[in-house]
C-alpha cells in the first residue's frame, strides 16, 4: 500500500512535465535552440535594473491558463493604454529601456509588462522577452509561457495571442533556465528566422 501511495505521488508530480512535453510535441511552445548573445540593450537593462534579471526559484512551475490568462490580458491592456507610443533612438549609447515611462517603444512596453507580472508572482522562467521581426522591422515582445503554451503580449496588438497566431519571424528569447541568457528560437514551421533569406 505504501509503495502504491509513493508511486501515485511520483506519477502526479510528473504530470505537469508530461503535459508540457505533450504540448511541446504539438508546437504550442516556441522551441529553444543554442545560446546567442543577448541584445546589447537588454544587457544595459540588466545593469540598470539588476533585480529584473534574477532567476526564479528552481521549484517555480509554469502557471495554469485558467489562473494566469486573465492577468495577462489585464496587464497587456493596461500597459498598452498607459504608455504613449514614441519612436526612440536605437543608437547603442542613446537607447535605454525604461520601466513604466510615460512614453516609449516596444522595449519599454515589454519590460513594463514583465515587471508587473513578476510583481504579481509569475516566475521569471515563464516571462520571456523575445526579439522578432515584424513587417516593419525588429520588435520586442513578451512571451508568457503557461502550462498549455506560449502567449504573446505585444504593444502592436490589444489581444494576448497564441504565438502561432502572429505573423512574426522569431529570432531569439530569454532562456527559461536563466533570464540573463538568451537562446535562438529553433525552426518553427514556415515562420522561422532561418528562412528569412530564402523568401
Amino acid at each position: 500500500m505504501k509503495r502504491l501511495v509513493v508511486a501515485l505521488l511520483v506519477l502526479s508530480s510528473s504530470l505537469p512535465c508530461l503535459a508540457a512535453e505533450q504540448a511541446t510535441s504539438k508546437g504550442v511552445f516556441l522551441k529553444e535552440s543554442q545560446n546567442v548573445l543577448a541584445p546589447l540593450q537588454f544587457v544595459k537593462f540588466c545593469m540598470n535594473y539588476s533585480r529584473e534579471c534574477e532567476q526564479s526559484s528552481p521549484e517555480a512551475q509554469l502557471p495554469a491558463r485558467d489562473v494566469a490568462f486573465a492577468m495577462l490580458e489585464e496587464v497587456n491592456a493596461s500597459v498598452n493604454q498607459a504608455i504613449s507610443p514614441v519612436t526612440k533612438s536605437t543608437e547603442p549609447l542613446l537607447a535605454r529601456w525604461t520601466i513604466s515611462p510615460s512614453s516609449g517603444d516596444c522595449n519599454d512596453y515589454a519590460i513594463t509588462k514583465r515587471h508587473l507580472l513578476l510583481a504579481k508572482g509569475l516566475p521569471a522562467s515563464a516571462l520571456r522577452l523575445a526579439v522578432v521581426y515584424a513587417p516593419a522591422g525588429g520588435h520586442l515582445v513578451l512571451i508568457a509561457r503557461l502550462q498549455d503554451g506560449d502567449y504573446v503580449l505585444d504593444n502592436l496588438t490589444s489581444d494576448v495571442r497564441d504565438w502561432r497566431g502572429s505573423s512574426y519571424q522569431w529570432v531569439s528569447m530569454e532562456s527559461g533556465e536563466n533570464p540573463r541568457v538568451w537562446v535562438s528560437i529553433a525552426k518553427q514551421d514556415h515562420r522561422d528566422f532561418a528562412e528569412l533569406g530564402s523568401k
Binding site: 546567442v36 545593469m47 504613449s84 536605437t90 541568457v181
Partner: protein
C-alpha cells in the same frame, strides 16, 4: 528501490550545465602559448601598455590581441575601459571588433562570460568601440511602436507614435531613476542616456529598422 539512493547520488554528482557557465572568469578557449596568466596580469596592471607594442596602422594586431585576452583570460575585460580611454578612434574600432569576435565565440559555451564582455563594452561609453562591436555581433535593433506596422495590425497604446528627441547621456553610478506608474526596483543606474525631453505631436512615425 535500491536504485533510488544510487540515482540520487548520481544526480548530486552530475555537473550542472547552468553552474558551469556562470563564473565570468571562465575561459572560453584554452590559453594559447602567448596568452599567459602573467601577460594578463601585466595587461591589468597597465591596460594602455598594450597600445605601446602595436604601431598605428596595425589595428588588426590590436583586435586579435584583445580577442585572445577576452576569450582565453576573461578577467582582462576589467581593463577594457582604461584601454579604450587611451585609444584613438581607429584603435577603439579595433578593440570593439576584437571584443565582438570574443563575445560571439564565448556565447555558445560560456554565456556569462559573453555577457561580461558586453557589459565591459557598454561601460566604455565609446561610440566607435560600441558600433564596431555591434557590427560584429549583429544586434537586431528593436523599436516598434503602434502605427509602424504597414500591414495595419490593430493599434494598441493610443494611436500613432511620435518621435522623441534623444539626448546623449553619460555613465553614472549614483543617478537615481524616477519611474511613473508601477515602481521599479531601485538599482544603481549605469546609464542615464536617451532622456525624452519633448514630444513633437506633428512628427510622422517612421520605422527605423
Amino acid at each position: 528501490m535500491r536504485m533510488i539512493p544510487g540515482l540520487v547520488i548520481a544526480l548530486l554528482l552530475a555537473p550542472s550545465t547552468s553552474d558551469a557557465a556562470t563564473a565570468v572568469d571562465v575561459a572560453c578557449a584554452p590559453a594559447a602559448a602567448g596568452v599567459t596568466a602573467e601577460k594578463a596580469t601585466q595587461f591589468l596592471d597597465n591596460p594602455a601598455g598594450l597600445l605601446a607594442g602595436i604601431a598605428e596602422g596595425e589595428e588588426g594586431r590590436l583586435s586579435a590581441a584583445v580577442r585572445d585576452f577576452a576569450t582565453m583570460r576573461p578577467e582582462t575585460v576589467e581593463g577594457i575601459g582604461s584601454l579604450s580611454s587611451a585609444s584613438s578612434p581607429a584603435q577603439n574600432r579595433a578593440i570593439g571588433a576584437g571584443l565582438g569576435t570574443a563575445a560571439s565565440t564565448c556565447v555558445l559555451s560560456h554565456p556569462a562570460t559573453a555577457m561580461a564582455i558586453q557589459e565591459a563594452v557598454l561601460k566604455t561609453e565609446n561610440n566607435d568601440l560600441i558600433q564596431s562591436f555591434v557590427s560584429i555581433t549583429g544586434d537586431v535593433p528593436t523599436t516598434a511602436v503602434p502605427g509602424s506596422d504597414p500591414n495595419g495590425e490593430s493599434i494598441a497604446g493610443g494611436g500613432r507614435a511620435t518621435t522623441a528627441p534623444q539626448a546623449a547621456g553619460s555613465v553614472s553610478s549614483s543617478t537615481s531613476t524616477t519611474f511613473t506608474g508601477a515602481s521599479a526596483p531601485s538599482t544603481t543606474t549605469f546609464f542615464s542616456a536617451a532622456s525624452v525631453t519633448s514630444i513633437n505631436p506633428l512628427a510622422q512615425t517612421s520605422p527605423t529598422n
